[in-house]
């Protein structure tokens, strides 16, 4: 298989992927000003050092608008690529380059690895699913949901007593998301659980991880709830979005509808620490109600 075929295969697979939802524009909160700098003063043809650094929400590029300021304000509410202007029937050069840069960042996030020393640095127990490498991980979703004997033994040793809550970090489809958010989010979750008097044991870090790997961890540890922080399939908005998947009584074969998910955890969505505090409370509720997923009704 040559590289082009592989890329095609992967992009097809990504589209059919279950579990990880794509970052949705409608869930994007405009409260955070986004990455600095904020060059709303970019004018057509300016030299730009790094197209990715431009804040698209502040940029309105239509020539001779009736009310450009009004449109620019509307744009601040969405990451959608609106009001980008055109050159004849085509994109302007900047739009084209930015589109490709964002696409490249999304691909990089999928293909890059969480560094070898990541787990050790944060005191997590590193394990690996049955996937041998990234390519197998991308082409064989089934293998990303289970562990071989030796990895199961590692988990069993690290988590000898059935815990109430088993915390897991999985690389998923975005290493960038994990590096940006997982440790901060986890620290806040642990604080929150401690406040509620819920002790947590060792945190597992799973390489080549899919959401279903949490079920296999449930089989091995017999935990009441598994909470997995996992990198979301990157879209063109951000490559740093992370989700938390929470499953009550996880075991292999549990239905997808029994998972509660908190998505969109990244600096321009819900900040990692705030999401952590929320997840801790959610875990407490799930333990009390003994249900997760669609059966869980939160008081409105």
């Amino acid at each position: 298989m040559n590289k082009e075929e592989l890329t095609q295969l992967i992009s097809d697979l990504l589209q059919q992927m279950d579990g990880q939802p794509q970052v949705k524009g409608s869930e994007y909160k405009p409260r955070d000003p986004g990455p600095a700098p904020a060059p709303g003063d970019y004018a057509d043809g300016d030299f730009v050092q790094d197209v990715s650094a431009l804040d698209l929400r502040k940029l309105y590029m239509v020539e001779d608008p009736a009310n450009g300021e009004k449109f620019r304000r509307l744009k601040e509410k969405t990451p959608a690529r609106l009001g980008v202007g055109r050159a004849g029937p085509r994109y302007k050069t900047l739009s084209m380059l930015r589109f490709r840069a964002d696409h490249a960042a999304a691909q990089d996030a999928v293909f890059s690895q969480v560094p070898e020393d990541y787990a050790q640095k944060h005191g997590f127990i590193p394990v690996q699913t049955k996937c041998r490498d990234k390519e197998e991980y991308l082409t064989r979703p089934d293998l990303g949901r289970c562990f071989d004997e030796s990895n199961q033994a590692v988990i069993r040793k690290a988590v000898p007593n059935a815990p109430k809550v088993q915390l897991v970090v999985g690389d998923g489809l975005s290493s960038a998301a994990i590096l940006a958010n997982a440790a901060d989010c986890l620290a806040a979750i642990r604080d929150g659980l401690k406040l509620k008097g819920i002790e947590t044991g060792e945190v597992l870090f799973v390489r080549y991880c899919r959401v279903g790997a949490g079920d296999a961890i449930g089989d091995v540890t017999d935990c009441q709830v598994v909470c997995m922080l996992v990198g979301e399939r990157p879209g063109l908005v951000t490559d740093q979005s992370m989700s938390a998947y929470i499953t009550y009584k996880p075991h292999t074969g549990v239905s997808e509808s029994s998972r509660t998910v908190v998505s969109n955890i990244h600096p321009q969505g819900t900040p990692a620490v705030e999401a952590g505090a929320y997840i801790a409370e959610l875990l407490d509720t799930i333990l009390k109600k003994q249900v997760s997923g669609v059966g869980l009704h939160l008081e409105g």
Partner: protein
């Protein structure tokens, strides 16, 4: 999470009239269910409007008892119990706010209206509520037009400059329809002290229509100056009220003027000049002929009811949906808010900074509004939490705009388990200096951010 309905009451005790509305605010969760909740107030609907009555005044004092009786009668007419009211605001406006007992009456009224109904006052807030109640902010938001909204009541005119739906500045002038009151024979019964030195007419005179028209035109010219439609003279500042936080900056550039208040009803159409026994009709006519109406202008979707609808529908806001509260009882009323640059939390003399800020508002405790909070990682969160937790104030009340309320409150609580804490986010304080926190609404809290400025009688 299902949507929830809040009943909100608005009561406006103005210079001339008093009225009340009850509205229904629909609280909705805007998030998809796969993210953290995001509660917002969606629809606002007025479900009951009281008749407009003359503000009961006795011996130059507001008759609080009469207003309470009026209010009780309205609850009955609306078929609602006080206990069903979730939120709302009582506002004392115009000349009434200068009465000696205004403060007393205001706090009595807010108590009598329901336990979550808050007391508000101050010309800046009045301007904002009138602009919102008259639909001027919404009109600006939808059309993109720059609007100067003027609410002309009995005693004062409240100005609000609106850009893209946001009120950017406010002001207040002693221009109103009831600065002069006439009896049926046309004799002057009352002349507001603000007219001192501006007219030779005095109590007991029987002015001609020309004299009254001239006075109305003079008052109108002050509004023209305030709108930048006429060169400014000494008159403008003479008529400006002293209660505003900042003097009115006359706007430059193109804008559309929009009107509400009782006088707005007299701008268009023909009315008997003495229909109300005051200057109102003549002032309306003067405005119609003036530069204010020379180009496109707009009469608000609400006129005489703009302020009360603003108070009923637009005074309540919601905090962020991930917040923290521990051992703090609600409601909390009239909490002074002090602005603290967040980096001060990291300084050794932080508690001294907070004490000094609170001292400036004559208070030992209040809400600390953290300014300039950046995107926080866990390390910074921990540092900020340590600084805040070490403060002696109990309960510890913190708020901020950015979405960190729950994480911050939780972190402080972990370090200081016995401290009562209220930590709210999603609140942007600009000119407002007081906060009321009402009942929980799902995961968040209903709040009123307000100014509370009552001038003592001079």
């Amino acid at each position: 999470m299902q949507s929830k309905t809040l009943y909100s009451v608005g009561l406006d005790v103005g210079t001339t009239t008093t009225q009340m509305v009850i509205s229904r605010l629909q609280v909705e969760n805007r998030s998809s269910g796969f993210t953290v909740p995001q509660m917002v107030i969606g629809d606002r609907e007025v479900v009951y409007e009281s008749p407009v009555i003359f503000t009961p005044v006795e011996n130059h004092l507001v008759d609080g008892k009469a207003i309470i009786a009026f209010m009780e009668a309205q609850y009955e007419a609306a078929g609602l119990q006080k206990a069903q009211i979730d939120t709302g605001a009582v506002i004392v406006t115009g000349e009434t706010s200068r009465k000696e007992n205004a403060h007393q009456v205001l706090s009595n009224l807010s108590g009598a209206a329901g336990s979550f109904v808050v007391a508000t006052a101050g010309p800046d807030l009045e301007s904002i509520l009138a602009a919102k109640g008259a639909g001027a902010t919404e009109f600006s938001r939808q059309s993109g037009q720059r609007i100067l909204h003027i609410d002309i009541g009995g005693g004062t005119s409240n100005m609000a400059l609106i850009e893209n739906g946001q009120v950017v500045s406010t002001g207040c002038f002693n221009v109103g329809g009831r600065l002069l009151k006439l009896d049926e024979s046309g004799k002057i019964l009352y002349r507001s002290p603000v007219l001192e030195g501006l007219t030779s007419l005095k109590i007991g005179d029987s002015p001609t229509l020309q004299e009254l028209t001239a006075l109305a035109e003079m008052l109108c010219s002050a509004l023209e100056m305030a709108s930048g439609r006429k060169p400014e003279t000494a008159l403008l500042r003479q008529l400006e009220t002293k209660e505003s936080q900042k003097p009115w900056a006359v706007p430059e550039g193109a804008l559309t003027v929009s009107f509400s208040g009782g006088v707005a009803d007299c701008i268009e159409g023909e009315k008997d000049p003495f229909a109300y026994g005051d200057l109102g009709v003549l002032l309306g006519k003067a405005i119609r002929k003036s530069s204010l109406c020379a180009s496109n202008y707009r009469i608000g979707s609400q006129t005489i009811r703009a302020t009360v609808i603003g108070a009923g529908c637009h005074s309540t806001a919601l905090s962020g949906s991930t917040v923290y509260r521990k051992n703090v009882n609600l409601p909390l009323k009239n909490l002074p808010v002090v602005h603290i640059p967040y980096e001060k939390c990291l300084d050794a003399d932080f508690s001294e900074v907070v004490r000094a800020q609170l001292h400036r508002v004559d208070s030992a405790n209040g809400v600390l509004y953290l300014e300039g909070l950046p995107q926080m990682d866990y390390a910074l969160l921990t540092a900020v939490a340590s600084g805040l937790g070490a403060l002696p104030q109990e309960p510890l009340m913190i708020c901020m705009e950015r979405d960190f309320g729950k994480a911050l409150g939780q972190k402080i609580s972990l370090q200081y388990p016995h401290k009562p804490i209220l930590c709210l986010d999603g609140l942007l304080f600009e000119g407002q200096s007081y906060l009321d926190v009402g009942s929980p609404v799902g995961p968040c809290y209903s709040v009123v951010m307000k100014t509370l400025v009552l001038q003592k009688n001079e």
